[in-house]
Each structure stands twice: as C-alpha cells, then as structure tokens.
Amino acid sequence: MMKILVVDDEESIRLLYKEELEEDGFVVEVAKDGLEALKQVPLFKPDLITLDIKMPGLNGIETLKRIRESERRIPIIMCSAYGEYKQDLTTWASDAYVVKCADLTELKNTIRRLLRLP
C-alpha cells in the first residue's frame, strides 16, 4: 500500500483529498501546515507528498526546501490555486505542479505517474 501525505491549510481540501485518494487505495495522512508536515515525514514515511503552496507559517516552498534537506527521493507535487508558479517549477526541487481543481483527475494521474502505477 502506497502512502501519501497531504499538506494543506484548508480542512475541506484535506478531507476531500484524503477520501478521494483512500478510495483509490492509498493510505493517506494529512498535515495542516509546513511544520506539521516536517514532523510527519520521518514518522509516516510517505511514498509521495502533495504540498499546498500558500499556507500560514511555513509556506509550501519553504517546506519543500526543508523536506529536501533530508529526503531527496520522495516525489513531491506542488498544488496551488495560483497559476503563475508554473514558470518557477524548474528552480524548485519538486517533481510536479498541479493547479487546484475540483476535478482531481489531473492530480490523480500525476500521482500515478510519479509512483509508476498503472
């Protein structure tokens, strides 16, 4: 069973992602901000992380940098309501970027691709 950590400051999003991904057969844990995510990573040992960018406290980009200090291999998908981060994708060490959308098809496809699932 693949494990996914969902990091988002919006509770409803965390709930939606968790339910949708669990339905697809993943084990899902959630974190409400960057600091909580940093605590969860060594404990939960996720196979993939979805990371919201705009969060209070430690934002997504800072969190990404901190996770990458210890964990280089976990695929990380940046999720945001902002469209304009696309251009900066290459300068970050994330693996994908997804614009948040009610239709989770793109997110799910990206997860499967990164986890090499059919």
Binding site: E10, I13, L16, E20, A81, G83, A102, D103
Partner: protein, 620 residues
C-alpha cells in the same frame, strides 16, 4: 514778324499752358512753339539733368545755375567741344538752367540760326519763361511722386489690413486659405489665381497645398462683379473664411495632387525654393515667344517634357504667363506661391512681384507659425492619448491585482465544493433525483473555475516566448480550432493573404489565442450566417514596415455605446460569456507592440485591424 515780342501776351499764354491739365511733354512743346512764334527762334529743347555731360559749357551752366547767352556781343569762345555740345552750336543761343530751392530740372536751350543780339527785354522774358517751364516740370514730378506715394500708402494699408486678418487665427488651413484669397482679391493683391506649394522636408520635395481661383473665365467674371458690389475691404472679406470653409475649386484639387522633387533643377517651382528668388515668366509683346524662358524643360517651352506647372495649370502651355515667389519662414524658404492672370491676361509687372513679396513675407511667418502650432497640437493629442492609455494600463494593473487575490480566495472553496459534489454524484444511484443536483453543482463549479482561469490569464503576465512567426501560419492554426463550427454553419470564409508577408517577432501561443478570440467573436456575432473575411498584408506606415491583420464580419456590429468599453475586461454584451475575449486580444497585441483599430458598422458588421511591427529583413 515782330522783333520785340509782346511780353505780357506771351507770359499769359505760357502760364495758361503750364497750369493746364496736359501732360508735361505737351506743355513743353506748346511753350517751345510760343517761343518760336514770338522770338523767331529755330530750335528749343529741354535737356534732362541726366542728359547733361560731366564737363563742358552745359555742365558749367548746370553747376553755376547761371544762364549762358551767346549773341553778337557775346560770341561763343569755347574751343574744345563735346560731341553733344557741337549739335547745339548756333550763331546765337541761350542756355538757361531750370531750378528751384530744392531741385534742378535741367537746362532750357533756345537756338537761333541767324546771329542776333538779346535785348534786356529778351533776357528777362526768356528767364521768366524758363522759370515757368521749370515750375511746370517740377509740378509734374511732384504730381507723379504724390501718386506713387498714394499707391504705396494704399498698398501698405492693404498689407496691414491683410496681416491683421492673418493674425486672427492659428488654424493652418484657414491661414493658407486667407493668404491665397488675399492674393486673388481685387481689393487685395488682385491676381487671378494663387497657389501654394509647401516644402516637405522629409521627402525633400514640394507638395501642392492649396489653390484659390475661379474655375473658368465665366466664373471669374461672376465673382469679380459680385465682389465689386460689396463694401467690405479685403480684411473684412477674409474674415468670412472659416476654417471649415471648403475649397471646392477644381484648381485646388489639381494643385493638391502636384508633387515636385526639389532636386528638379529645371522646374521653376523647385528653382524658386533653391534660389530663393522670384521668377516672372511672361510673354513678349509679340506673343508666342518667351521673354524669360527660364525653365528649359517644361514650363515655358514644351509640355511633353512633363513640367508640372505648364501641364497642369495652363490652358495652353505655350502662352502661359505666371510668376513664382519664394515663401520665407524664419530664415529659410518654406514654400512657393505661384500666381497668374489667366482670365484677364493682365501682365505681371515687377511692381506686382515686389508687392506680392512684401505680402508673402508676412504670410510666410503666419503660415510657418500655424504649421508649428499644428504640430504642437498633434503632439499634444498624442500625449493625451498616451496619458489615457497609461491611466487605462494602471487601472488594469490595479484591477488585475484585486481580481487575482479574489480568484485565489475563491478557488480553494470551489475545489472542495466541486470535489465533494463529484463524490456525491459518484455515490448516488443513477435513479436518485439528488444525482441531478450534484451534477448541476459539478457543472456550475466547472464554469466558475473556467472564469477564474480566464481572469488569471488576463491579469497575469505570461512570460513571452518570442520567435519569428509567419502570421499567416498562426492564423491558419487559429482557424483550424474553429473550422468545424464555421463549416457546419452557413458562414462563408474568405482568406486574402499576401504572398509575401514579413515575419513578426512574437509568442506563438499568445497570438494564436488572440486570433482565435477574434475569429470566435466574429463567428458568434454572425449567428450562423454571413461572411468572415480575413486579410493579412504587409503595410508601410510612416517609414516603418508593419504586418496588418484584418478580421471582418457581417454580424451585428458593436453597439456604439458599448464601443468604448469593449477592451475593458469583464464587459460583455453576451449573457453567457465573460467579456474577456477582447481585453485579452488587446493585451496580447499591446505586449507585441502592435495596435488595434476597430471599424464598426452597427447592424452591418465590424472589422478589427491589428498591426504588428515587422521584423527587419536580415542584411544580406
């Protein structure tokens, strides 16, 4: 034959003659006749001051202002004689200087072929007659001077009036119109026709600017007789010319077409500018031949050489007389005024040219000022437009910031609303009525998300990925996105692409989007039937190379009230669409340093013209 003339009768007749209104030549002839009758003299002459040699006895008489009497008692003793003097030698003669306090009017000579003696009475009478003669000559001179002065004063006051009229406006068209009218008014300078050609410094040529003059001899007669009945002076007549007064003469439309390169050394117009002096091209008194055929190429001699002036302005180039004078601005020639008397055939005199030159020196400054003022106004207008544009840009920027942050705030809740609605939809059985509700929520959320991405596309600066593009290819690509709809509907598509179109540096995706929006708008406005014309052509404007893209439809056009808003984001006339199509086009075109023009015909259709700067052709 009386040896002793009747002094009283003689003087009376002489005074009568000199106070008559006859011309001076006749008066003098009359007096000589009187003297011949009374004194039995054989020859009488009036020697003009200019005709008196610089030495000899005539010179001495003139210098000393003392008469010379030669008779039996005072024989002539001069030995060396000038040729002019030899003719005057008679056995007896008298040379009496004619002068008054202020001037010298020459010498009165009377000669006798027989030797005689002047009696004291003779001397006195001849001196008195000479006095009368001198007075008559002086009088005539003064009269002529007075007339001349009067004419000059009249000219000057007309000039002053005209200049005053020119000072009432800075409108270029009006000043030119007034100047040319002043030249043609009988109460002004009185030429039949006047034309102005101004120097175009960019093209280094002369361009016909305006012409004033009747179209035919009949019209000329009509105008002149109606004007002669009016009481206004020239300046008052000029005041009737408004800047909107249209100059509809045929001559004006001919002159406006004339362009002469300034290098054209043989054209009188061009020479007038280059040499900065007037030319008076006139006929000899015999007619037919040119007195001053200065223009070797055309004006004077042959029209088939393509001379502008003779070809366009005369009825018969071979008998066309006209004059040109340079129009001076501040220190340089800014144009040429051409005048003629085509209808009354009055010869143009040097005096006319002088008068015209005086007038045009003032008119030149007025025209130059008006030209500068016009440039200033144009620049001012451009500045105003630039300011409006900047304000618009700033408004857009502020709006962009606001809408971006709102869009972000809305997007998160939409994700969960839409996401959970999808979950509901999936979990509900196919026959549950709630399933339809859930589907509606999913659909509406999808629509809201689309609007949000539209707003973010518009307000967010997408980075350009500029490449050299062939706009025809980009347009084909945009057309392919909508070709099916076009084909299925009854819309006729007309493509006119030039064979050679320079490339444009730009972002392929952005331009494709802009073209697509244009085509899509046109398609929607035609409601399924009509004609969509797309043209792509190279264009040269103000020396820069451009590519022009026209998209023309036969749809409903744009409501004139809405026209001002069409480039404002979120303005739309269609209920089901967010009005971002045109603002996005506008933004993309602006990013590409292009321009948009809208040619709107409400109810008939609209043409959008986009122009983009072309890529410089690479140097080979």
């Amino acid at each position: 034959m009386s040896a002793h003339p009747d002094g009283y009768g003689l003087l009376k007749k002489a005074i009568h003659l000199s106070s008559s209104s006859m011309p001076i030549e006749k008066k003098l002839t009359g007096m000589f006749q009187l003297i011949a009758d009374e004194f039995q003299s054989d020859r009488s002459l009036h020697l003009q001051p200019e005709a008196i040699p610089k030495e000899g006895f005539l010179f001495r008489v003139a210098e000393s202002r003392k008469p010379l009497w030669v008779d039996e008692r005072n024989p002539f003793q001069e030995e060396a004689l000038l040729r002019e003097e030899r003719d005057l030698l008679c056995p007896s003669f008298a040379c009496i200087p004619l002068f008054d306090d202020t001037s010298f009017q020459g010498i009165f000579y009377v000669g006798f072929s027989r030797s005689r003696t002047f009696s004291p009475n003779d001397l006195e009478l001849l001196l008195l007659l000479a006095k009368e003669m001198g007075a008559a000559i002086r009088n005539d001179q003064l009269h002529y001077l007075a007339e001349d002065h009067e004419r000059r004063v009249k000219q000057l006051s007309t000039l002053w009036e005209l200049n005053k009229a020119l000072l009432t406006t800075v409108n270029f068209e009006r000043i030119v119109h007034m100047t040319l009218t002043a030249i043609t008014l009988g109460k002004g300078l009185g030429f039949n026709r006047a034309m102005l050609f101004l120097v175009d410094e960019k093209k280094y040529g002369l361009k016909g600017t305006m012409a004033v003059g009747p179209n035919s001899a009949e019209e000329a007669g009509r105008i002149w007789s109606s004007l002669s009945n009016r009481r206004e002076n020239a300046a008052e007549l000029l005041a009737h010319i408004e800047s909107t007064t249209e100059n509809r003469s045929i001559l004006n439309s001919i002159v406006r077409e004339i362009e002469v390169p300034l290098e054209h050394e043989q054209c009188i117009l061009s020479r007038t500018v280059l040499e900065g002096r007037p030319f008076n091209i006139r006929l000899s008194p015999e007619g037919g031949e040119w007195v001053q055929a200065r223009c070797e190429r055309g004006c004077a001699l042959s029209s088939e050489m393509g001379c502008y002036v003779s070809e366009h302005l005369s009825r018969d180039p071979k008998i066309y007389a006209f004059a040109t004078i340079p129009l001076w601005g501040k220190g340089k020639v800014i144009g040429v005024i051409l005048v003629d008397n085509l209808y009354n055939q009055n010869p143009i005199t040097e005096e006319d040219i002088r008068y015209l030159t005086m007038f045009s020196s003032q008119a030149g400054l007025a025209i130059e000022n008006a030209k500068l003022y016009r440039n200033l106004e144009e620049v001012h207008q451009e500045l105003k437009e630039a300011q409006t544009f900047l304000v618009h840009q700033e408004k857009m920027a502020a709006l962009g910031e606001l809408s971006t942050s709102i869009a972000h705030e809305i997007r998160n809740p939409l994700v969960s609303i839409g996401g959970f609605a999808r979950r509901l939809d999936r979990t509900l059985p196919a026959d549950a009525s709630e399933k339809r509700y859930a589907q509606t929520i999913v659909k509406e959320v999808g629509r809201l998300e689309k609007i949000l991405s539209h707003i973010l596309t518009y307000t967010h600066e997408e980075p350009m990925a500029p490449k050299e593009l062939d706009l025809r290819e980009v347009m084909e690509e945009s057309l392919s996105m909508i070709s099916e709809s076009l084909r299925n509907g009854g819309i006729q598509l007309i493509k006119e692409f030039s064979e050679k179109v320079p490339s444009v540096k730009g972002d392929y995706y952005q331009l494709k989007q802009a073209f697509f929006n244009l085509i899509n708008n046109a398609y929607e406005s035609m409601d399924g039937k009509g004609r969509l014309s797309i043209r792509i052509h190279p264009l040269l404007k103000n020396g820069s190379s451009l590519v022009k893209v026209d998209v023309e439809d036969t749809g409903t056009g744009i409501n004139p009230e809405a026209l001002h808003h069409i480039f404002n984001p979120f303005y739309t006339t269609k209920d089901d669409r967010l009005g971002l199509g045109l603002p996005i086009i506008h933004k993309i075109v602006a990013v590409h340093q292009g321009q948009i023009e809208v040619n709107n015909h409400p109810g008939k259709g609209v043409t959008f013209s986009l122009t983009f700067p072309a890529q410089e052709e690479k140097q080979r």
